[in-house]
């Protein structure tokens, strides 16, 4: 029980964020979306507790996981060939690409925990690369932003696992070579709107006339929030439908408009609190598997937050990614809850030596 108690603030912060997400959906999406989000939150909490009570050490059995992984890859393959993002199961719509993140984190964690040395060995690195590239490539076909996010997460994990200086140099050089060669090819195959996003971001002398409609409306919403915001359900941009995708990609804009800088500060503080809890847990984890798991969860959370908010406030090119907890979407919520559940499991297992 002591362990649960010590995880209290972390759990409290998480619940608070979930609550804020519900409040935000109430404003952005109205009652039907709110109820859906409420349902998903309950499901997410269930998944969370399930994962938290699970003994993560069971996942060490890498071979068993590999079988599941292959099934998952097949699913992605099926979706990629039918050009779908969603899997429709009766009334439920699931976005399998979201679940690639927890899957990959668990897989890589269990893979890396085999490592006995300080640096990753070549075979392990190669294995990790192959494991990561599978979903990345398959998802890239239908959802480039998501694929990029997964790539970044995988790279972060690999870097965290540690690479020798030599390997790092070789990889760096290889990456540089690859990007200069493949850059133009990739550019050619980007969809027009994706190109436009990049252009609008990197073009010098950005005036507000050059902003894309979405960026412009997001910035207006965020900026017009001011210090204290326009008030719950009173944001001009969200109430009058100026914000596209206001309950998913631009959920943060709705939040910032209605609650102002104070609200933004609160959300960011909660995020950093949870992240710092996770990082602390990663260092205190009893074994390598736990450390990698918790760090993986933190990575996923961090990059999702960074890419989403960065996109909304025009710090990065606009990306179509959901913001953890604040955006609507069951798959994303569940996937995040699984990861955080696992991380919690690591946290509370810290003191048990069974």
């Amino acid at each position: 029980m002591k362990s649960w108690f010590s995880a209290g603030p972390y759990l409290g912060g998480l619940l608070f964020l979930l609550l804020l997400g519900l409040v935000n959906q109430w404003s952005a999406g109205g009652k039907p979306l709110f109820l859906r989000q409420l349902l998903w939150t309950i499901v997410g909490l269930g998944v969370f507790s399930l994962a938290a009570f699970l003994d993560y050490r069971r996942f060490r059995a890498f071979q068993k996981l590999l079988g599941l992984y292959l099934v998952f890859i097949l699913l992605l393959l099926f979706l990629a060939f039918t050009h779908q993002r969603w899997l429709h199961l009766g009334p439920l719509s699931i976005q399998p690409s979201e679940f690639a993140k927890p899957f990959l984190v668990v897989l890589l964690a269990s893979l890396f925990s085999e490592s006995q040395e300080e640096h990753l060995s070549w075979p392990l690195l190669a294995g990790a690369t192959i494991l990561a590239l599978g979903p990345v490539l398959l998802i890239a076909i239908s959802d480039l932003d998501q694929a990029f996010l997964i790539l970044v997460i995988a790279c972060s994990l690999i870097l965290f696992a540690g690479l020798s200086r030599k390997t790092l140099l070789v990889l760096g050089a290889g990456f540089f070579l690859l990007s200069t060669l493949a850059g133009p090819v990739v550019w050619k195959h980007l969809k027009p709107y994706q190109r436009a996003r990049l252009i609008s971001f990197f073009k010098p002398g950005k005036t507000h006339k050059r902003w894309s409609y979405q960026t412009r409306q997001a910035l207006i919403a965020v900026g017009s929030g001011g210090l204290t915001g326009q008030g719950f359900k009173r944001g001009l941009s969200s109430r009058l439908h100026y914000l596209p995708a206001k309950h998913t990609d631009l959920a943060f804009a709705v939040w910032a408009e209605e609650w102002g800088f104070a609200g933004s500060l609160l959300v960011l503080t909660l995020y950093s609190f949870i992240l710092s809890c996770l990082l602390k847990a990663a260092y205190q984890a009893r074994d390598l598997m736990g450390r990698f798991l918790v760090f993986g969860a933190a990575c996923v959370l961090f990059w999702e937050i960074f890419f989403n908010i960065g996109g909304v406030i025009h710090l990065l090119p606009a990306a179509s990614l959901p913001l953890p907890f604040l955006s609507c979407g069951g798959s994303a919520l569940c996937s995040n809850m699984i990861l955080l559940g696992l991380a919690t499991s690591v946290m509370i297992k810290r003191f048990s030596f069974i």
Partner: protein, 582 residues
């Protein structure tokens, strides 16, 4: 941590640039719709309405509700309006591109069309029929030249007048009093502040202010008299001005022919408009403000100038043999066989040209011109209606400036009988006769008696204004009046057609030559002379002579002789005026 980067940018956006984005949000979300102000009304001196506003039905359409079914709805609308679908759609697309939200598609719909549209409302989503104030004139042509008219603002005017609150759907006063008092009549627009969503739909009314109606004008004009007078001129080109000699009040001012001012609001078809411009009777010109040769109506002024200078005595006799010789030139009297012995009274009464040639020969032109200017000629009459021509009072300086030539004595003689370069307008002439009638005071003619708020509160009163006195003693004026009385009542008077049984009328005829005498076949009957070459007919009269109440000036363009074309009209006007028991 990278999250601090996010925080920093958020702080920048939400705290530093807050005002900028707030303004952007405001611009995007709120918009203002002008509420037209009803134009001020115009009343005659009895309070009869001459120009008012009435609700008219304007057709608006909101493109938002037409999405995806534009063709279907517009086709339906075109058939209901009885218009061509393709042209309607073109217009719709053009206006849609230009504006945001609702489009004003048609205005001034008649009741039948409104009823038809209402009945089919279900098939016409986004359609809105709004009753909005519009100018209308209960009388049409009779008051056109006095009141003027309003018509839609042009693009160019809009650019210049935007700062004064004009919008693209506004009307603007074009001539007459509508133009002169545009600022008072137009009122102040109100506006409605609306909140709109991303699709351009109006969500709710946020605020605004009601329009302030324009101020009402009360005129000195008697609308009964005005209507009768216009009827007299019907089918003829000309103008009639009736003044009160006691204070310069305008009782009636008409110019004929005139278009219907209501039609400027509905709009002319191009062919109608072309016809209007090509009409030889020039319906768009206010002939009371155009300058013409005054002809013999100028003779009293010549006589006064000569009397004052002592160049002639009233009793002095001049022999008229039908012509007057000056050097090698011969000047003819209008009566070719002559008038015989003429003194002042008969000279005026019979309008003997030779008598005035003699006066003209004695007068110095600069003195005569100065005298005429002191009597109000050659400068604005003071009525202030737009488009007035001030005419020409020629003298040596004018001749040198205009033709670079020196003055010839012969021109004196021509000016003395109101011909040559001399040009006056009806208002100046009637104003001068009013001064003759009232004993020498030149009153500024005025047509507005007061300016009131729509609630009836008086904002400004206008009263008589003495401009000057005629530069002669009333003794000489009495002589002239006797001459004018003789002209109407004397056996050989030229203005006998204006004689009345009940009241003693004094007046003077005038026949202004349009083409030089030599070119004209002298004895040809009027009908054989082309219209453009026929003389202008004048007659100015006042009555009763003892205590004048009314001055009537009649001008008939290309009407022929003043005695036969203009004097009878003045006679009729005086008769009805005095029969009316004023």
């Amino acid at each position: 941590m990278l999250l601090f980067l996010l925080l920093a940018k958020l702080a920048y956006l939400q705290l530093v640039r807050h005002d900028f984005f707030w303004r952007l949000a405001q611009q995007r979300t709120f918009f203002r719709v002008p509420l037209p102000a009803p134009r001020g009304r115009i009343y005659d001196f009895r309070g009869r309405l001459l120009a008012g506003t009435r609700p008219t039905f304007n057709l608006y359409i909101d493109p938002y509700y037409l999405r995806g079914k534009e063709d279907k709805v517009l086709k339906e609308l075109a058939s209901l309006l009885g218009e061509d679908f393709v042209r309607l759609k073109e217009e719709y697309l053009f206006k849609k591109k230009r504006g945001y939200g609702e489009i004003l598609l048609r205005r001034g719909l008649d009741r039948d069309t409104v009823a038809r549209l209402e009945a089919r409302r279900y098939y016409l989503p986004g359609l809105k029929l709004l009753a909005q104030p519009e100018r209308y004139y209960p009388w049409g042509r009779e008051f056109f030249h006095l009141l003027g008219y309003v018509s839609p603002i042009t693009k160019k005017e809009l650019q210049a007048l935007k700062s004064q609150g004009y919008g693209p759907e506004d009307y603007i006063g074009r001539s007459g009093l509508e133009k002169l008092f545009e600022k008072d009549l137009k009122g102040e627009k109100g506006e409605l502040e609306l909140e709109r969503d991303a699709f351009g739909r109006v969500v709710k009314v946020v605020g605004g202010k009601p329009p302030v109606p324009g101020r009402d004008l009360y005129l000195t004009v008697d609308s009964h008299l005005q209507l009768q007078v216009y009827r007299l001129l019907k089918d003829r080109s000309g103008a009639i001005l009736i003044l009160s000699p006691r204070d310069g009040k305008v009782l009636a001012l008409v110019s004929s022919p005139a278009p219907d001012p209501n039609q400027f609001i509905a709009g002319f078809t191009p062919s109608e408009w072309k016809e209007l411009l090509k009409d030889p009777l020039h319906p768009l010109l206010n002939k009371a403000l155009q300058s013409y040769h005054p002809g013999s109506t100028f003779k009293p002024l010549t006589a006064l100038a000569a009397l004052k200078a002592g160049l002639v005595k009233p009793q002095e006799e001049v022999l008229c043999r039908g012509f007057h010789r000056l050097g090698r030139r011969v000047f003819r009297c209008w009566r070719r066989w002559g008038h015989g012995k003429m003194e002042l009274i008969q000279g005026l009464a019979q309008s003997c040209d030779v008598y005035f040639y003699v006066l003209g020969e004695r007068l110095d032109i600069d003195y005569l011109a100065g005298f005429a200017r002191a009597c109000g000629f050659g400068k604005p009459s003071g009525l202030a209606l737009p488009g007035e021509e001030v005419g020409i009072v020629p003298d040596r300086f004018w001749k040198r400036k205009t033709f670079g030539d020196k003055w010839h004595k012969g021109e004196n003689l021509i000016v003395a009988i109101g011909q040559g370069a001399l040009e006056v307008n009806l208002v100046q002439l009637v104003k001068f006769y009013a001064a003759l009638a009232n004993g020498g005071t030149l009153y500024r003619p005025y047509v507005i008696s007061s300016l009131k708020t729509p609630e009836g509160e008086t904002l400004k009163e206008f009263g008589p204004r003495k401009e000057a006195r005629l530069p002669v003693s009333s003794y000489w004026l009495e002589w002239i009046k006797r001459g004018l009385q003789e002209a109407v009542n004397g056996k050989k008077g030229t203005g006998r057609a204006a004689r009345l049984k009940e009241v003693v009328v004094a007046g003077k005829t005038g026949t202004a030559q349009v083409v030089r005498i030599k070119r004209k076949k002298k004895s040809a009957p009027k009908e054989e002379i082309p219209y453009e070459e026929r003389d202008h007919a004048w007659f100015v009269a006042f009555a009763p002579v003892k205590d004048p109440q009314i001055v009537v000036g009649v001008f008939v363009e290309h009407g022929g002789h003043g005695g036969s074309a203009a004097a009878p009209l003045a006679g009729k006007i005086l008769k009805t005026y005095f029969a009316g028991g004023k």
